[in-house]
Symmetry: C2
Subunit: 420 residues, 2 copies
């Protein structure tokens, strides 16, 4: 590794990234947390700051057909690496979720531009509506770019105030009819890199600031519906009951054991009983089931065991069970060469080989469908995110930006060497 | 037993009771079931039919300070037996719940009046608002008569349309300030008897039509609140979770086992998770707990085990638990002499000694606080009640009215003999 891209050769300033994040928080945050809900004036304000931070740099700024905002630093080759994340937040969100990756990308561009024309083209992207907090469709912009956005489903989405997604994005010049045009953005892209907060407690528990991310976990989500017989809680003897809440309870405990056994995660997040009164045995209980694993075979095994557990729980209480599909995404393992680059960078910065799969989805999950991808995590204090309490020690943010920066340099080297 | 009250000596017609119930159903029912919600015109219509059925009989009809409607057949003595139940129903209710006991009471009066002046005074009462379907306070009228109505709590009750209980009962000439006057109705009362449908599946499962009721079960109701830590369902490892739904599930299963172990009944009827979304580990889960037993020591043991089960379930998941009191009533065992009278009558009518505690509350639960009380059950098809599907084979209704009638005769004999 002796090209212009070598990590040690360049000046960059992680503190500037943190400073720009604080400015963003001042301009779009408040006592209740961040207010950068996508497709709102405050989100546009965040994008204005993003543009300002690029103002003195030799970049071409473009918005694509899906509302993603791109800044291109043209290189000696059309071959391209893309870095980025998202400026949109959930309502009352945190200051770092997404914004860290965008502002770290700006710093990368700044450092490269200071050195002249880079060997490859480098783009920083602010993905549109990663959170899906308004219409329930997350990864909107990145899914459009890789062609995995179901436009028919998107056309039917409505927010809490009754606004329709097509009309809201229409105000931003976006149409579902032409959104497929955003797919041309993938042309020449050889790698995608993203730095993000962990949004979980693992790094903090290990006493670490950063790590390599091996991929994003696959997810299975189902609504599990137990049907039995509603009855009077006083007059129906125990042994004649078909109690769906007891069945759902057996299922929840079995599901929890499945997650532990496979080193994945499994959750019942919502439960609803019918008739749902203190004096009635529930004749119907609905629970949501979310399970995640980084390995697709393990996820498939967990899913099969979950189905069996639901059947067993229902039968134990004389009930029946059915499922309604909610959501599915396969595991997205990251690129081996980029993973090696990230591992080397993390080792240089924090001196360890710790790596984690991401339990949360990211735009990287979509990009990994089509291009070599990798991510770097910083720690999250108490594992909190999507709340105003979301925070990370400055030192860890600095290390994350540093390791991300080094990984990007290595990615450039790999592209130049024709190895990506 | 050779007095005028002896069961075999008198003509009575159970078919007339069933016919009057069908007339009531025609006049106050419909395709959705019975519409005799208390304090409504349809409830008054039911009471009008009750008055019509008494029109040719030598009774004094009076409404007391709590809205209960009394018909007195004066006897040779002021000593009195009271029979009755309630004409009010839940919305879309069944045709038999309550009305059976009132109409059977009318038939008793008719049979006794045909014989001349009975040895003791006999009253049939239609209790006001047994169901509590509108304001959530069941056993309103009977509680007022025995002095167990909390008038302060009642004053604060509001129905779904925002109507206040004091205003609604005020339209019927009732005031919480003077309701205590209804307690004088207990004067001279030596026994209370009620015939009711089982509202459960036990008699049907035994292939029986009727049985003696040994008392009404005591009830404990609590809201059980588990507190843990809300977390991202993808990023929070299983072993770091404080998952309240898993804790609540452990509790529900343990509670179910407690009910089975003590031959009582235990139910979680309602559950609510917070934040309650598919992607979050629930940081708070609230469930309702209802437990019932006919024996107060067994109920106390069940309650203590329930508290321990809640603590154990919370601790197993790193959560805490607290309880909010909802409701409590002690077991109300019926009078031994009246129970013997009921047993003898059931034996005569259906030839067996089967007896059950009532899992549901009845006006008899209130009356049993103050006077010797007993009940007779008829079967319920499929155990259904509080729905238009509520039904009982005519043959079983006839047997129930017959056994009730015989029991009332025996009660009169016991009063005459000074044994009650």
């Amino acid at each position: 590794m002796t090209t212009a891209g070598t990590a040690d050769a360049v000046a960059y300033d992680p503190a500037r990234v943190v400073a720009s994040l604080r400015t963003l928080a001042e301009r779009t945050g408040g006592p209740d947390g961040s207010r950068r809900l996508c497709w709102t004036p405050e989100w546009l304000e965040a994008r204005a700051l993003f543009r300002e931070s690029l103002a003195t740099l030799p970049v071409e700024i473009e918005t694509d057909e899906a509302g993603n905002l791109w800044a291109y630093l043209r290189g000696a080759s059309d071959d391209m690496i893309v870095v980025g994340s998202h400026l949109d937040s959930v309502p009352k969100g945190g200051w770092l979720d997404g914004a860290l990756g965008v502002m770290a990308g700006v710093e990368l561009i700044r450092a490269l531009a200071a050195e002249g024309v880079p060997p490859v083209t480098v783009a920083v992207v602010d993905w549109a509506d990663e959170e899906g907090a308004r219409f329930g469709r997350s990864l909107f912009g990145s899914a459009a770019v890789v062609g995995s956005l179901d436009t028919e489903a998107a056309a039917a989405l409505v927010d809490k105030e009754g606004n329709k997604l097509p009309e809201v994005i229409g105000e931003h010049g976006i149409s579902l009819d032409t959104i497929d045009g955003a797919r041309t953005r993938l042309q020449h892209v050889k790698a995608y890199l993203e730095v993000h907060i962990e949004q979980g407690p693992v790094l903090e528990a290990k006493g670490l600031g950063i790590c390599t991310v091996t991929g994003t976990k696959g997810i299975e989500r189902e609504r599990v519906i137990f049907l039995g017989q509603a009855a009077h809680s006083g007059t129906m003897p125990m042994k004649m009951r078909r109690d769906t809440f007891v069945a759902a309870s057996r299922f929840a405990i079995a599901l929890n054991e499945i997650g532990r056994r496979h080193d994945g995660v499994t959750t019942v997040g919502h439960a609803q009983c019918w008739p749902g009164v203190v004096t009635a045995v529930p004749g119907e209980t609905r629970v949501t089931m979310d399970m995640r694993h980084i390995d697709k075979d393990a996820l498939a095994a967990m899913f099969a065991e979950m189905q069996q557990a639901a059947t067993d729980a229902a039968e134990a209480e004389g009930c029946t069970v059915s499922m309604e599909h909610i959501f599915r995404i396969p595991p997205m393992p990251f690129n081996p060469r980029l993973l090696d680059a990230a591992r080397e960078s993390v080792r240089e910065v924090e001196g360890h080989d710790v790596e984690l799969p991401s339990g949360a989805l990211h735009d990287a999950s979509e990009m990994a469908r089509e291009v070599p991808t990798v991510m770097i995590f910083s720690s999250s204090i108490a594992g909190l995110s999507h709340t105003k309490e979301e925070d990370t020690p400055d030192e860890h943010l600095h290390m994350a930006v540093d390791a991300f920066h080094r990984t990007c340099r290595r990615a450039i080297d790999l592209v130049v060497a024709g190895e990506l």
